[in-house]
Symmetry: C2
Subunit: 299 residues, 2 copies
Amino acid sequence: MVNGLAHAELIAVLVAVTDNDPRVMTVNAGDALPSGPFESEHRSLQSGLRVWIESQTKHPVGYLEQLYTFGDRDRTPSAEGVGGQARQISIGYLGLVREQDALGADRPQWRGWYDYFPWEDHRTARPEVLGELYARLHHWAQGDELRCQRINFLFGQNGMAWNEDLVLQRYELMFEAGLTENFIQSGVQGFGRVMTGDHRRILATGIARLRAKIKYHPVVFELMPDCFTLLQLQRTVEALSGLPLHKPNFRRQISQQELIEETGEMSGDMRGRPAKLFRYRNDIVEARALTSVRLPVSR
Amino acid sequence: MVNGLAHAELIAVLVAVTDNDPRVMTVNAGDALPSGPFESEHRSLQSGLRVWIESQTKHPVGYLEQLYTFGDRDRTPSAEGVGGQARQISIGYLGLVREQDALGADRPQWRGWYDYFPWEDHRTARPEVLGELYARLHHWAQGDELRCQRINFLFGQNGMAWNEDLVLQRYELMFEAGLTENFIQSGVQGFGRVMTGDHRRILATGIARLRAKIKYHPVVFELMPDCFTLLQLQRTVEALSGLPLHKPNFRRQISQQELIEETGEMSGDMRGRPAKLFRYRNDIVEARALTSVRLPVSR
DNA sequence: TTTCTTAATTCTCACTTTGAGTACATTTTC
DNA sequence: GAAAATGTACTCAAAGTGAGAATTAAGAAA
């Protein structure tokens, strides 16, 4: 028995926002996330994945961050055959691609991520699925107090506010309740598109990470074109977070962070008053831009 | 050539706070973090590590979280021999152990983490090392504007505030500047204790993660005994963050979150007025307790 | 031209959260 | 009993946030 030997695979959640909708790169007609073996000639995991993605997709990847390493035994039921001894380990990455670089984003590999998680898009209204979802979850809960509290908390019911960050927890609750892949494949509508293995869970991990990250780190700009209006920026953040934002307050928040500057040009193509164009300030020191959560420090 | 085959190793940053000092579990007289091969009989990475840690250390691990997966080629220069083909992949975990369970915390495996990062402890004063550290960093920077900005930002110089979260970035800057392992082993004092390979970097990753996490997730309580006073809690947070906290404001912040409740008992062993004892409320729903960063949501 | 529509941009104001410090209470130690 | 040490409760100004009104600038319709 070879201890510690495993098949290592890299798997990417590649995100772009086009037409105000967040999209994710898929393979097999939307059935899986792109992945490949970790080849040992690469210098590091990160650079290995970058090279591999760029050769596969032709899209330059601006931002790349490790998500999570998945290694549960029962993840991929079909993975038994790979050698008998060695386990499968998948290292997930989150990558961001600029709209302008994602040309061909209409090509079928790019799928709107709300196709997979329809209950996560609260931009215009509470998604309709939530009604049936609540019903089925509560049916599963069978009156168990803790389960009910968890449902209410995660899905913003019963006076609790919807928290957009809890994508993964919501998916995992649904998984526990038997409302994911097998259930959907039995023909139920509205609970999202399925993926192979645990790819949808990895996607949920990526969405959750990105939603949390945009709040304290200026990664949104990795998804924006060089020049953009404040409304375009707002629409992008809305697309990612799945929430409608308050325009004046959004613009106040952005401008006081001093992360962007006017280009001097105006956008002309739209209806209504033309908007100023902005660009991300690239004279910002690396990590400078974090809205830190504060402890009550003394002195 | 076997593609995708790798040696997988689990590596743990196990933290406990005793005597108001954060400590980390080590092996080899403080030279390395505990680690071991990922054995394929485990159900998942997480459970594998938990079993392994608890059998090795006899400490129950309350909280366990994946940190990062390290796989750079040049990480461990000595790891060439392991088989010629397969790469080494290390999956790092952060684990928290309660003070009461870390009895024997005086045993030499538990080391104060500021032994490894003396410049990170700002509880009583700016650490003295910072003077020499600045000097050496600026000497390395050689006037390069970007490098200087980065130094000032990371080390809170030149009007910038010290940010306790940037542990990893600071370590990596020092690494770039050649102020880590080899440098220290050449006999320089005050730049911290070294570890084998990149273990000190993994420790920095763990500290950084924990410092960030305590601000929006109630993980501190995983380090506290069942009953504690508010000052004990404050001292623990101070120990982890390396900052002195404002007592009245800290207690206000804690009490309005309603995460703890009075036990009704009082602490008796200390000098001065006895303090109320509190316990963590275990009727809190799992994730309920997060101080979320807000976007300017509309409606 | 005038008016309507759409969107950009600026301001206001109440309310909440923080930073910082003060005052007072209750115990042990000298 | 006074001093020292700690616990606990307030106060108050400054900063930050949520919600919305008001104003400006363009094209389109009447």
